[in-house]
Structures are given as C-alpha cells and as structure tokens.
C-alpha cells in the first residue's frame, strides 16, 4: 500500500516505523507479537514513551498535546504502531475520555485531567454498560442525584475493561428520570477510591480477568466532576463512540496475526508436506488475505474521502467495524486450527520440562485469544447494531 502514499506520507511512515522499532523496548513488542498478556506496567511504560515524543494523543487538540495531522497521517501512526507490535495507548484515556474533556469540559477539568490522562498518570475506566443497558445504552439506570455541591451516585456498571487498574472512571449516569431516556443522561467523572465504589472481577471464557462489575453505593461526587452540561451526556457519548469506531478495524494487528499463523503453518507438518501447502487450509488462508486487502482498501477510501474534506456520517465506517471484527475472529480461529490438538489446553508455558517436548508456538495464547476475540463483534456496537445502521442508511426504514 506504500505506493498509494505521497512522498511526504511515505517519509512519515518511515519515520514512525523507525521510532516504534527503536524507542519502544523490544521485550514489550515481543510480548505483543507473541500474544502474551501485558501487565499494567507494560502499558504505562509504552504510553509514557509515546507521550514523551508527542505520539500518545495525536487525535487531541494541539494545545493539549495533540498533533495537527491529516487523517492519512493518523492512519499511518496507528497502522505502523500495530505492525511494530507496540502496546497501544489506553483507549479509555486516549480516544474516549480525553477528547470528551478536551471538547466539552471546563478549563478547570482540562487542566486537571488532560496532561495526566495523556501520560497515563491517571488510568481511566469506562462506565457505560449496565446489566440491562447493552446495545440499548440509553436505557441505563445508574442514578446521580444532586445534593448541594455534590451528586449521590447509586447503581451498577458492567464490562468495565481493566477496571482493576482504574484510578478514575468516566460514567454515563441518569440525572433526570422524567424525560425521554436520552435526554436525562449526564457525563460524570468518579474517583474510584471514593467510599462506596466496589470493583468485582468477572472471569471470561478465555480464563482471564479482563472485565469487571463496578457498584456504586451512595457515592459522593463533587459537582465540578460533571463534564459539560447536566443532561447533555448522551451527546458526549455519541461523540465518544464515533471516535471509537475509527481504527476499530485493527488492520495492522490482523496483518501481524495472519503473518504469524502463516509462519506457524509453514513449519507444521502434515502427511503430505506442510499445513501451508494443504489445499483447503491454504484456500481458507488465501481468501482471508484477499479480504484483509479489501478491508484495507475500504479504510483507505474512507480516509481519502475525509482528506478531500468530507465529514458527513459515513455508513462505510460501519462496514469497517462489521467486516474488520469478523476478520479478526476468522484469523484467531485460523491460528487455533494451525495448532490442532496441542492448542486445546489452557497452559501458561509452552515449555513443559520433565523430559517432555515443548508445545508448539502459539500453544499458550491461540485458544484464549480465540475465545477473547469473540468480543470484537459484540463491543463498540455489535455486528447487528452495525447492520442496523447500514440498513437505515440504505433503506431509511
């Protein structure tokens, strides 16, 4: 795809490539490349290096550490980061709460939170979903009742990703129960160390602890922690979710994972040679490769439209999410099938010791990753929600 870029864009890509591969520790990138779980420290280390060089929050306003980049440059920044297996900046900080505070927050909130958010001195958690508010997010019930100069918050959030590390939480809360559901929601920042906040882990089918439930029991929150205006939270949430959708196709990451499955297949023996030469396996792999190219071209076409100055809502963004998430799942499944029976146990190390041979490469992460990746067609607007958005644009019914 390099040939599609202008000379300046190619130079920029080269500069990013060089930066990621020299400044981000090899050990961290190896962990990402081989599907190992990152610790909190790993993620903080990576984001702080990026932030030191001005590469953590390029999507923010320049005065708060952002870069005045074109849509194509932002694409290159992310694509090269994924190709270099750099741990990505925490999305809750960088693409969610940061832009909301920068766009709708008071000057006090900006000064208080934005520098620390960019440098991940504050770890943010997302408080949107509730047990009864998933795709129908606006039906959320967690309440914030004004009491003098504070809100009293009661209720429950769920699917709080990495909430176990969270310092602060940005929440959608109901501040007016007597109006249309979207019109009574506010965007409130809550210190997770406040009395009455309880974080409970949820174990997932991949065996890991990635998400949590968060309970609020008469939690007192100062009114200055309200972002923007009371009852305008739905507008800010839509803005936030719109930001989330760009880059959600994870094309660079899919390329790395596909290259990895292919490399393992090439060293996996079958009765007639290697798995990479097996006709059915290679047909399946090849179709996925071609489709990944189609996804990338679609992303580039959208970027090209944006670069030409259009900022209209574009149902093609939903195509990116719909197709990109499906491809991520297909690739994770491909890796499981490369491993065969030796990929079916949950193990913590491929070295068995005691005179037993090592397990194949990928044996630790392939199956957990397969189960974990089921989430990508669910979060950020499920595939069904995306189809709904597309058909609305197509049919208007």
């Amino acid at each position: 795809m390099d040939t599609l870029l202008s000379a300046e864009e190619r130079d920029f890509a080269q500069q990013m490539r060089q930066f990621y591969r020299t400044e981000i520790p090899e050990e961290l990138r190896f962990k990402v490349a081989t599907g190992q779980e990152l610790t909190k420290d790993d993620m903080v280390t990576s984001q702080q290096i990026l932030n030191k060089h001005g590469y953590a929050v390029p999507n923010w306003p320049v005065e708060w550490g952002g870069q005045d980049w074109t849509p194509v440059q932002r694409h290159i920044w992310l694509e090269e980061m994924q190709l270099a297996c750099v741990p990505q900046p925490l999305p809750f900080n960088v693409s969610m709460v940061g832009p909301v505070i920068a766009t709708f927050g008071s000057q006090e909130l900006k000064e208080r939170f934005l520098p620390a958010t960019a440098n991940i001195d504050i770890w943010w958690s997302q408080g949107f979903s509730e047990p009864n508010a998933g795709s129908d997010l606006a039906s959320l019930k967690t309440s914030a009742v004004r009491d003098g100069d504070k809100y009293i918050v009661n209720g429950q959030k769920t699917w709080t990703t990495l909430g176990q590390y969270g310092d602060w939480m940005f929440n959608l809360v109901r501040t007016d129960p007597n109006v249309k559901k979207q019109a009574g929601i506010s965007f409130l920042l809550i210190d997770m160390k406040s009395p009455g906040v309880t974080v409970r882990p949820i174990q997932l089918i991949d065996g890991g602890h990635e998400v949590n439930e968060v309970f609020f029991d008469n939690v007192e929150v100062p009114v200055e922690n309200l972002v923007g205006e009371e009852n305008k939270g739905w507008t800010y949430a839509k803005f936030l979710l719109g930001n989330e959708r760009t880059g959600i196709a994870r094309i660079g990451g899919s390329k790395v994972n596909l290259a990895r499955a292919k490399a393992y297949a090439a060293v996996t023996k079958t009765a007639n040679g290697t798995l990479l030469n097996d006709p059915l396996f290679s047909a399946r792999l090849t179709k996925i490769e071609a489709e990944l190219t189609a996804l990338e071209m679609t992303q580039l076409r959208i970027l090209s439209t944006q670069a030409a100055g259009s900022d209209k809502p574009d149902p093609r963004s939903s195509v990116l999410k719909l197709k990109g998430s499906q491809l991520q799942e297909d690739i994770s499944e491909l890796l499981v099938d490369v491993l065969g029976p030796q990929g079916l146990d949950f193990v913590s190390d491929r070295v068995q010791g005691q005179g037993l041979s090592d397990l194949p490469h990928g044996a630790v992460d392939a199956l957990p990753a397969y189960f974990n990746t089921r989430k990508v067609t669910i979060y950020g607007g499920s595939s069904e929600v995306q189809r709904g958005i597309i058909s609305k644009a197509l049919l208007g019914l």
Binding site: T3, L4, L5, S6, E9, R29, F30, A33, T34, V72, C85, K255, L258, A259, R260, K262, A263, Y264, A265, A266, L276, P279, S282, A283, L285, T286, K287, E289, A290, E291, L292, T293, A294, L295, M297, T298, L300, R301, L303, S304, T305, A307, A308, P315, R316, V319, L322, K323, H361, E384, Q386, R387, G388, I390, S391, A393, L394, L395, G396, L397
Partner: protein, 382 residues
C-alpha cells in the same frame, strides 16, 4: 494519498451516466437485445463520437492518449446500464493486444478504425475442453515462405466474436505460444455466432489454414497475461456498476413492496441481509480500485505484483458479485425470476462476466501458489 476520481474522470462519468440514463434505458436496451445483431451500431458510433472507444489509444493512432483509469470509468457506467455492445472485447482486450504486441504497421492498420467506431475486435483464446487454460493452445500456426502464417484449429467463447472484424488468435508454433491477427473475412474461417446468457454476443471459430499475421513485438505470454489482467480490471469496474444498480433496485423494492400491510424491508431479516450486500458492494468497489491501481501503476517493480494483485481483487469481487446477484433475485421473490423485470438481467450479467477468464476457486488456488499477499512472519520463529 488521493483515491478520488480527478476532475476529468468525474466529468466523463457524469456526462456518460446522464447520456445512458436517457439514451440507453431498459426499453432501449430491450429493443437492442431483440435486434438481429443484438447490438446497436448506431449507439457504437455515438460512443466513438464521445471519444469512448479510443481512450487508451495513443494520439498517433487516432486515440485520446489517456489511461486505463478512464476506460474503467466507462466500464462502470456501461455496467450500470448493462450496455450490450462489445466494449470489453474491442476497447480493452483487442485494443491492448494490438497495442502491446503489434508492429507499428499493424497498429496503424487496426487502431484508428477502433477509435472511430469502424472496427470491432475480439480475442480468441479459449479452446474446447480446455476450460480457462489459454497458454497451451492446440491451434497450430504454420509459417509460410513470405513471413505470413496460416492457422488451423478451433476456438470457443470468443467474446464479441459474432461481430468482430479482426480476431487476435492464440496459437502454437512448434510448441511456442504466439498471438496472431486474423481478418474475419479470411478464407477458411468459419464463424458460428453465439449469445451469452447475459445477452452479449460471442462466437465459436473453426480455422482451416486461415491466413494470419503474427503479432510479435513482445513476448506472447506476457502480453496475454497483461491483456487478461486488464480485461479482469475492466470486468471489475463494470461489475461495480452492475452490482450498484442491482443493490439500488433491490433497496427500492424492499421499501415499496408491501406484504402483511408493511414494506417487506421493515423485516430485520431482510434489513440485515441488505446491509451485508452493502458491505459486499463496498468491498467490490475497493477491489475494483485495487486492480485499477495495479494495472496502471508506474512505480518501479510494481509490474511483478500486477497479476497477483488483480487476482486477489477478483477473489473478493467474485464473492460480492455472487452474493449480490443471488440475493437480489431472492429478495425480489418471484418477480426477480422474470425476463420482464430488470433485476434478473443484472444478475445474469454478474453471473457471466465474473466467469469470463476464471472462477473464484481457480483464482484462490493460483494466489496461494504465488505465496499470497502477506509474508509469513512470527517473532518467536527465527
């Protein structure tokens, strides 16, 4: 990065779409389809006057000296209106074969007539029982005393061959692939006109010691490969037009056809399938663009990736075309099965055009054999 059409291409697309909407609507097309030749020579003349037939031909041979990018704009517009005249056969396949392999004299003899709309060309590459294999023809070329050749053999599925004035014929001479120029009125040539399911004309040919000139300005293998890549890129551009019109028509039907007291498009089962078709159409557009970039790339070294990129694009496009054509009939219900209603004509065009040079399975096998698009790489394998 700029993937948008330039001003000239946008102007070409908008002028042509407007012309086709008024001058090549379903009724006019039907009339042409039912005519003896199945094409309109009058329309072809109008295409020539609009400069559509010599777009990629150099000025020195009477063309507009533009590129395949403009040819693709025309193909897409023709797809939208299901144009029946042999644009692919003449302006893409035949023209490029002569351009790439012809001598100066041969180009002067053939190409000005193409640009003026006086000459139809056709590529005769397929043979009975050989499916899509074109590099080892059984048709034999024999050298005469004076540098002339004679051809003997049989050709099948010659697109545009029913009206062609000149054929570009593949044949073997001492086991070596060659491209030969044959006049349609040459002695010993028997032509049996055929009609494809999509209404386009073709022909089967019998050659019995037919006089031919060799087109030997370049290696026949590389010319044939490039001509077919260009043909596939044009098919993809055209398929985008056909598929877009199919989806527009299907969406309109979902909105207006009422059953159980409501538009059938109110059913989520149909809405979500329509959304999937929209996604497929976007993939088709992306890959038509990808193939167009591949065949027009002037970046050094890009040529070796050209064929690989075109077939990768076609794998995706074939699936999109199949889904859109099949689903558009299904969503129309019974009316989609009829010849009276246009959707079936679009489905037939998609079905036939995507199988012109290859099918999805053979492309997948070929791309796999070429090593695919991504280098195998794992950080923990040295």
């Amino acid at each position: 990065m700029d993937l948008e059409l330039n001003d000239i291409q946008q102007e070409l697309a908008s002028t042509l779409n407007k012309y086709l909407r008024s001058e090549y609507d379903a009724a006019k097309r039907e009339e042409i389809l039912r005519s003896d030749e199945g094409i309109s020579r009058e329309k072809w003349q109008e295409f020539a006057e609009m400069g559509l037939l010599g777009l990629a031909i150099p000025e020195s041979y009477g063309g507009a000296d533009m590129t395949f990018n403009e040819v693709a704009v025309v193909a897409e517009a023709f797809g939208r209106s299901l144009v029946l005249e042999p644009f692919l056969a003449t302006a893409v396949l035949g023209t490029n074969a002569v351009l790439l392999a012809g001598s100066e004299e041969q180009k002067q003899a053939i190409l000005p007539g193409v640009a003026e709309g006086q000459t139809f060309l056709a590529l005769a590459a397929f043979e009975p029982g050989q499916r899509y294999e074109v590099t080892t023809p059984a048709t034999q070329a024999t050298a005469g005393a004076d540098g002339a050749f004679t051809l003997t053999g049989e050709k099948t599925n010659v697109l545009g061959g029913d009206v062609a004035d000149h054929f570009i014929v593949t044949a073997s001479q001492n086991g070596e692939l060659g491209l030969y120029l044959v006049a349609a009125d040459a002695e010993g040539l028997t032509r049996v006109a055929q009609r494809q399911a999509d209404g386009l004309g073709s022909a089967n040919l019998k050659l019995d010691n037919v006089a031919a000139q060799r087109l030997d300005a370049a290696d026949a293998h590389s010319v044939l490969s490039e001509v077919i890549d260009l043909g596939n890129a044009a098919i993809m551009a055209e398929a985008v037009g056909v598929a877009e019109a199919s989806l527009t028509m299907t969406a309109e039907y979902l909105k207006t056809r009422e059953q159980f007291g409501a538009p059938i498009g109110a059913n989520q089962a149909l809405q979500h399938r329509a959304a999937d078709l929209y996604a497929e159409l976007e993939y088709a557009r992306s890959m038509a663009l990808y193939s167009r970039l591949a065949v027009t790339s002037e970046v050094a070294g890009a040529e070796k990736d050209r064929h690989r990129d075109v077939i990768a694009a076609k794998i995706v496009l074939d699936r999109a075309a199949r889904n859109i054509s099949q689903e558009s009939i299904q969503m129309h219900g019974g009316i989609g099965m009829t010849m009276e209603y246009p959707i079936g004509h679009y489905a037939k065009r998609l079905t036939v055009m995507t199988r012109t040079f290859d099918d999805a399975d053979s492309l997948t096998a070929e791309l796999a054999a070429l090593g695919g698009l991504i280098e195998p790489q794992a950080a923990d394998l040295s």
